[in-house]
């Protein structure tokens, strides 16, 4: 399990955070928000270059949904940490190493098969996580997650449809999907790697079950789909202690781009 110290670049002042509830909650919110933000921004790169016009609109819309979820989660984080930073500051004003998204999302969006593979692995894992916070004792989170899950249901249908088609199509489609799954497989479980504040999250009823339970449930579901489609089993998570740190060059490039406009005029009102 990663120590809080690994997240120093965040510079959150948790003085007086008591038994760790606030600190653990903030870390959960930030990891969820960063996951949604990074995959949303990364998938938005398909806008204008989607495989067909209809899919271009669909993937752009899904990416926007994820950014909307990130915005709402950063909003909850803002209320929790209350250090004067607003949602935009959380989203745009951190150095690359200050982002806590899972290593799965450090992969470049790649080709269409890689985007679908990453979306599939992320959305299914995120779904297990959302289920575990659906009845959270932190009411604002439970209420937000109820709304997010309604949208994620469609996201899952969309990505399920696509992974089935790529797997069943054979030839180049299947070969590209297999290559993407091989590259990302060891990182897939990073979304559900235990967070440092897990005992506190459980004790306070912010999450309903340990991350290991979410991960087992997620692996059961993905395993059943993969067997049906004749895809190889997912490997165990590699280096789970660094599931959300030590980001890739692909993410640094993405970060440079997504902060570009914000950095161009510091403090401007858009």
């Amino acid at each position: 399990m990663t120590d809080f110290a690994a997240f120093e670049p965040l510079a959150i002042d948790f003085t007086g955070a008591g038994d760790g509830r606030v600190r653990a909650l903030a870390l959960l919110l930030l990891t969820m928000a960063d996951d949604e933000f990074v995959i949303g921004f990364s998938d938005s790169e398909w806008t204008g270059i989607g495989p067909i016009l209809e899919e271009d609109v669909a993937i752009s819309s899904l990416a926007q949904d994820e950014l909307g979820h990130a915005q709402a989660l950063y909003g909850l984080l803002t209320d929790t940490v209350a250090d004067g930073r607003d949602a935009d500051a959380w989203a745009y004003d951190r150095p690359p190493e200050g982002y806590l998204h899972a290593r799965l999302l450090d992969h470049h969006r790649g080709d269409w098969a890689a985007t679908i593979a990453r979306r599939y692995l992320y959305d299914t894992a995120d779904s297990a996580r959302l289920e575990a916070v659906a009845s959270s004792s932190h009411r604002p989170l439970a209420e937000l997650v109820a709304k997010i899950r309604r949208e994620e249901r469609y996201h899952l249908m969309h990505v399920q449809t696509w992974i089935e088609r790529l797997a069943d199509a054979g030839g180049e489609s299947r070969a590209r999907l297999l290559a993407a799954l091989e590259a990302m497989g060891p990182d897939a479980g990073t979304v559900l790697a235990p967070l440092p504040g897990e005992p506190s999250l459980l004790r306070h009823g912010i999450i309903a079950e340990p991350f290991a339970t979410m991960e087992a449930r997620w692996r059961d579901g993905v395993g059943a789909t993969f067997r049906r489609l004749g895809l190889p089993d997912l490997p165990p998570t590699s280096d789970p202690a660094h599931a959300r740190s030590g980001h890739s060059d692909a993410f640094r490039a993405l970060h440079a781009e997504l902060t570009m406009v914000r950095r161009s005029e510091v403090g401007a009102t858009w």
Partner: protein, 117 residues
Amino acid sequence: MTESTGGAPATPGVLEPWEVFRREKDGDPMRHGGSVMAPDATLALHYAREMFSRRQESVHLWVVRRGDIHDLADLDLLQPPLDRSFKKPGGYVMRDKLAAAREQSGQAKPKANKGTR
């Protein structure tokens, strides 16, 4: 009479047009909204949802494969060769009769009755 251009079998994985019908609000009929390209019904519904309902402009959606629509091939069948104007109410001029009735009942001529003849 029943000759048509529809019913061509679908080829798996090949994009083809799907016609989208949508209901704008409860109680409205389904109306044609446009079309999307998709390889099958599932993706056609996904795309129809994105194109015709993401801004809450629909409460119900249908997709129909254009290839499954039977099109009346002989359009001449829609144009009667003889004068059938007696089937239409347009031949009955009501203006004078209405004016007389109004005068008799003492009612003013209603506003915005451009369509009255």
